[in-house]
């Protein structure tokens, strides 16, 4: 129970980005690999996933900070721990969360060369960079940081809750090349984002007065859709769930991928995922602040003949020079594009497995290779490099071990298992298993599990 609650805490405490499924990618011809590469090879007649159970994936991570930094039993004053944490954070550190639940997943072969797959899944995807300057300003004030420019550009976050209906085709072009594509319709239930902010707040020694405050080149925007309905926050969770299926904020996207056999043992595969956007036009509330403002205090005139409403004057100037505004204008949010590339060398014992057309296909029991993953995030692309070893124990039991280097770790070891019992396929994989010794100090963890029914 405590562990469940611990995970609940992580989900609630960590601000909520699509994930790198390095173990699942190109693994065991699982139907779910088609979602990572629509050009992946399949070898079955048709499949369907158990509704809501065919694919559950969770990925969360925090670079630069872990729970034990603050909450460990260490007899260190929490004020000091938080202060140290804030000082150690960099502007590229971030927290992320991604979860996908497949509601429906299925596929069928139309002929010997073509496999159609389709489905519907819900996704929560979030990333927030640590706005270090904001944290410092609000926790320490500007007094210890005179002359420092607190930057609004660090305010960078994106939170999405959406449903995705998809259909894809995987086609064997020839003996060496399989290519595929997938069309997606996104239905956003909730989007909150802020990016491309500019501006600084600085306190410096003044000329007319002791200090002068500068709000320079401020251009801050915060967009939301699905969160407010006529200025009231939507609190009904059913509304969000319903909006994941053809709600008012729709978008489209495409996946592309291919698998190419350079020779019998060497294979290259790659994919581009979520090349798309969502047009948000329902329940929009955007806030902007733009302008410059300089404040040096109130200059008393001592002119009894012309009394001045100083405060009113400053307030008016502030609103005029640095106006904040709200609007309901529609906007477009781009999906985080992901790139996968893999080079795999197969070796070991050659075995045969029966195919959908009652022919036999040879395969090697072992494979090693490298995978490169990149996701385009608001600040910059995030990269992960993975080395892997795959072992097919039998033609129905497959295993994979990965070693990944990414933003969180230089030693992320993952493992996966796919086993088929009759028509039922079970798979499970997790990464960062070294961190399972102490999840409290883990920068990231991810897992994927699911059941499929596969007909050869």
């Amino acid at each position: 129970m405590k562990k469940i609650l611990f995970f609940v805490l992580i989900f609630s405490a960590v601000k909520f980005s699509a994930q790198n499924k390095q173990v699942l990618y190109d693994f065991a011809e699982l139907p779910q690999t088609l979602l990572l590469n629509p050009g992946a090879e399949t070898n079955y007649k048709f499949h369907f996933g158990l509704p809501l159970m065919s694919g559950l994936s969770i990925d969360l991570g925090s670079s630069g900070a872990v729970l034990t930094d603050v909450f460990a039993y260490d007899n260190i004053n929490i004020d000091n721990k938080i202060s140290t944490l804030l000082n150690n954070l960099t502007t590229t550190d971030f927290v992320k969360f991604n979860s996908q639940i497949e509601v429906l997943n299925g596929g069928f072969r139309t002929n010997t060369k073509t496999y159609i797959s389709f489905g519907f899944y819900n996704e929560i995807d979030a990333i927030s960079y640590y706005p270090k300057d904001f944290f410092i300003l609000f926790s320490e004030g500007n007094n210890p940081h005179l002359n420092k420019s607190f930057s609004a550009s660090q305010l960078l976050y994106k939170f999405d809750v959406l449903g995705v209906i998809h259909a894809g085709v995987s086609r064997k072009i020839n003996d060496k090349l399989t290519a595929g594509g997938r069309f997606k319709i996104y239905s956003s239930a909730l989007n909150i984002e802020s990016s491309n902010n500019t501006g600084t707040f600085t306190t410096v020694l003044g000329t007319d007065n002791i200090y002068k405050h500068y709000f320079s080149n401020i251009n801050i925007n915060a967009r939301s859709s699905g969160l407010f309905n006529e200025d009231e926050v939507i609190e009904d969770s059913d509304t969000y769930v319903n909006n994941t299926f053809f709600g008012g904020n729709l978008g489209i996207g495409f996946d592309f991928g291919a698998t190419y056999h350079i020779n019998q043992q060497l294979e290259f595969s790659g994919s581009v995922l979520d090349l798309g956007f969502i047009n948000h036009k329902k329940n929009i509330k955007n806030t902007t602040a733009k302008g410059n403002f300089i404040f040096e205090g109130v200059e008393f005139q001592y002119d009894p003949n012309n009394p001045i409403n100083y405060w009113g004057q400053i307030d008016s100037n502030f609103r005029k020079q640095l106006p904040t505004a709200e609007n309901q204008e529609s906007y477009i949010s781009w999906r985080p594009v992901k790139l996968n590339a893999s080079l795999k060398y197969s070796f070991g014992e050659i075995r045969s497995k029966i195919c959908y057309d009652n022919t036999y296909k040879d395969f090697y029991t072992d494979a090693i290779g490298v995978q490169l993953y990149s996701i385009f995030r608001p600040l910059s692309p995030q990269l992960a490099l993975t080395g892997f070893y795959q072992k097919s124990i039998t033609h129905k039991i497959h295993t994979k071990v990965t070693y990944m280097i990414d933003d969180f770790s230089y030693a992320n070891i993952g493992a996966g298992l796919s086993a088929q019992f009759g028509k039922v396929n079970l798979y499970g994989m997790l990464d960062n298993i070294l961190e399972y010794r102490n999840l409290s100090s883990a920068n990231s963890i991810s897992l994927q599990v699911g059941f499929n029914v596969i007909f050869n």
């Binding site: 460990a72 500007n142 205090g297 001045i308 295993t399 999840l439």
Partner: protein, 197 residues
């Protein structure tokens, strides 16, 4: 043990024996952050001519007043613990100048006054600090206006209205907050009940 069984055992091992270090979320109850915000306040420069009325008669006191809505902000009002008022003054006049700073409520009644700031003539580097503990001076939170009066010493000798010597007043405040991360019982119960380790 066969290889798949080994893998299964390994995965089960990680899944079922995963550990986490006990965490003490109740520490947040003790988390207090104390931001100090520095803000420019009033400034002015007066010359002798400003102490003469339209009839050419010297007045020994002039004053000006401004609205002040800073304490109407609930964040400031609820978390403010101390204000350090700082002034730097240059008095080129040949006589003493006294600055009186009064905080007025909406009825124009004085709710707080600074210690009179007395600057002798010719003092070009006068500094002043007034520390206001809010707990001891809660009335100051009712301030809606601030009045600053500038009085010149009555030396029986009238100032020369054409004199260009200046009295320069500059000021800023350090506003000290004390903010507890967890304030209410609900949060406290959430932390203690669910995550006591």
């Amino acid at each position: 043990m066969k290889f798949p069984a080994k893998i299964g055992v390994v995965i089960c091992f990680f899944v079922f024996t995963s550990c986490y270090e006990s965490l003490d979320f109740n520490q947040l109850n003790d988390y207090v952050y104390k931001p100090v915000f520095t803000s420019a306040l009033t400034y002015f420069t007066v010359v002798p001519a400003q102490f003469f009325n339209t009839l050419g008669i010297q007045q020994n006191s002039i004053s000006d007043i401004t609205q002040f809505k800073g304490f109407q902000n609930s964040y400031i009002k609820d978390n403010l613990v101390k204000i350090n008022f700082n002034a730097e003054i240059k008095n080129e006049f040949d006589r003493e100048v006294t600055i009186l700073v009064d905080f007025l409520n909406k009825n124009d009644a004085v709710v707080y006054s600074f210690t009179p700031i007395i600057v002798e003539g010719g003092n070009l580097n006068f500094t002043f600090l007034e520390e206001i503990e809010i707990a001891l001076n809660k009335n100051i939170l009712n301030t809606t206006k601030v009045r600053i009066s500038t009085e010149i010493e009555n030396t029986k000798t009238q100032m020369n209205p054409a004199d260009t010597r200046e009295f320069v007043f500059k000021s800023f405040s350090n506003i000290i907050h004390r903010i507890k991360y967890i304030k209410n019982e609900e949060n406290l119960i959430f932390c203690t009940d669910f995550f006591s380790c």
